[in-house]
């Protein structure tokens, strides 16, 4: 008897109760839809030569900072919508999973080639990006953004991976990567939780082919990294973490990837220095590229041209601490930055080992994970 009652009641007047509870969720839905991007195919309404209404970015935080992005919006009326990534692998994962429609991405140079080979990005029409010809030639000629005569990326910012040291704690640091293996600094060393730690160890061991290490060489690198591990405070994962480690004096020497760590620490009164050791250092450069699914290549190229202006490059340096990719910007940034990156001596960039696509990247990453787990 009770079963009949249940059935009758449930079918008869369930709606009101469900609707009441659903109200909360239902109210949020249209709000969420309104907040979501409507940048699907055709949503931005750009014709061949008029700027689109919205540009969707998938990039590093800070690369669409209001201080220079607002000028672009004012000039072309295009709204900038950004989604930020925490790593290059995340960027590739977002693109390959196919969801989301981005117009501009900012991969680092070790990722660009695989994107070109996977046909995930479009070749650019450089006649639409006249300011590109003012960037340092080392970036214009970089093989990782070219395929035949096609160019796929415009450089945004660059930097290198130096040793960073607190001079008050270590007044005369050794000019070598071995400083990060020095037992007298035990517990106060921190290196990047990243593939670059493999590159740096390889440089210390005298291997010049850091992007194409053989299995034997990788074994040697692993042994060396395991030797270093007990001396570390920890592996730092974000620049914010690195800055705080130094600021709290938990770490006195390590490596960085440039950026605001050095200026931030100096503002706090720390006497820190970044330097490239005698074995050399790797360097990175981020390129703007246009994913194949985007329908706004014209507007994307307007952005690329816009950010290559010297005054905008100087502003980008102010916000991110990264080095400008246009030589004319050297006159507009501080002396300290010019000195730090030798901006007026582009020949000096040749001694840096710019990141490249690593064919056996998975082996490198596995090694890193093994070392961390050991």
């Amino acid at each position: 008897m009770t079963d009949n009652v249940i059935k009758k009641d449930l079918t008869r007047r369930n709606l009101l109760r469900v609707a009441g509870l659903a109200g909360l969720g239902a109210v949020a839905v249209p709000l969420l839809d309104a907040c979501s991007s409507k940048g699907a195919v055709g949503g931005s309404g750009a014709t061949e030569q008029t700027p689109a209404k919205t540009l969707n970015f998938l990039c590093w935080e800070g690369y669409t900072d209001k201080s220079f992005a607002d000028g672009f919006t004012a000039k072309y009326g295009t709204k900038i919508k950004s989604t930020f990534i925490g790593s290059n692998d995340e960027l590739v994962a977002q693109l390959t999973s196919g969801a989301g429609n981005f117009d501009l991405i900012s991969p680092s140079v070790d990722t660009t080639k695989s994107l070109i080979e996977a046909k995930l990005v479009r070749p650019l029409d450089m006649s639409q990006v006249p300011n590109w010809s003012n960037s340092y030639s080392i970036f214009q000629n970089n093989d990782s953004v070219k395929s035949g005569t096609d160019v796929y990326g415009v450089p945004m910012s660059w930097g290198f991976v130096p040793v960073i040291v607190n001079l008050d704690a270590i007044p005369n640091p050794a000019n070598s990567w071995s400083i990060l293996w020095d037992k007298q600094y035990k517990g106060k060393i921190s290196v990047w939780d990243d593939i670059t730690s493999i590159y740096n160890t390889a440089l210390l061991l005298g291997y010049k082919n850091v992007y194409s290490l053989t299995d034997t060489q990788l074994e040697a690198v692993k042994v060396k990294m395991l030797e270093q591990k007990p001396l570390l405070t920890k592996y730092w994962a974000t620049a914010g973490e690195l800055t705080n480690l130094f600021a709290n004096r938990e770490t006195i020497v390590g490596n960085s990837f440039g950026g605001t760590t050095l200026p931030d620490l100096r503002t706090q009164g720390f006497n820190v220095k970044e330097f490239i050791p005698q074995e050399g250092a790797t360097a990175w450069v981020d390129f703007w590229m246009v994913p194949v699914k985007s329908t706004n290549q014209y507007t994307a190229q307007l952005w690329m041209d816009y950010i290559q202006q010297p005054k905008i490059q100087a502003q980008i340096n102010k916000v991110t601490g990264y080095a400008p990719t246009v030589q004319a910007a050297a006159d507009l940034v501080s002396e300290a930055v010019v000195g730090q990156y030798s901006l007026n001596d582009p020949a000096s960039f040749d001694r840096l080992l710019f990141w490249e696509q690593v064919p056996n990247r998975q082996k490198y990453l596995d090694l890193l994970n093994q070392v961390k787990a050991a």
Binding site: L32, N56, S97, A99, A239, E241
Partner: protein
Amino acid sequence: MKRIQRKSGRGLWISAIIIYLFLYFPMLVVILFSFASNTTQSFPIQGFTLHWFHDAITSTVLLTAFRNSLLVGLAAAGIATILGVPGALLVDRYDFPLKRLFQKFVLLPLILPGIVTGVAFQSFYAMLGLPRSLWLVALAHGTALTSTVLTTVYARLLRFDPSIEEASMDLGADRLRTFWRVTLPNLRTSIIAAGLLAFTLSFDEIPVTIFITGDGGNTLPMVLWSTLRRASKPEYVAFTVLVLLIGVVVVSIAARITEELPAPVAEIGG
């Protein structure tokens, strides 16, 4: 007897204070740094300022992310409640084929690491070809949090005396009226608690969200994560303190509301 009582009184106070300090000391440190003029979170404190709070409330990046997190949290809590409350009632009161399997499946999101849930949703949405949006994020959160709501409400149901419902029906109320006027009011506090918990868990969710966000905008923890990649920004610390303040206010209001609710059993005659 009196002496023993007094002794345990003081001991209880001391251990209570120690436990609360242990739990909340990190938060106190964060609050301290939000007022410090240092650009990094380190001692010595160089001065005090409200300037980071000003930067925090004028940052469109932060405000947009906060709004997104709020909406996603509300929607997720809504979905979790709609699915979780009937689910709890189902598990408590009815027997159906594969019930034991259902109970175990429902617990999966609680047991599995968030990453597994995240990858599962990413593949699922990709398979359906759905364009990314915050709505999908809310759906994923809501689905995963259903188990939280279900277990919370189920625990309350276990303590629920079914004779109250029987008394109500004896007095002439049909099942639906009994449910609405007797069962639900008794569950009210646990539903509110479960809803708040679901909202909180959705608000600071990262491992599931990281796989599903796209060009629809990002949630607050994701924005904080991707910013930290580059720099340690003090205005973000200030913003966190503001969020903490809002959380304290919301929970206080919720606690006050549930305290003031009239005793449910008295409503049968109404």
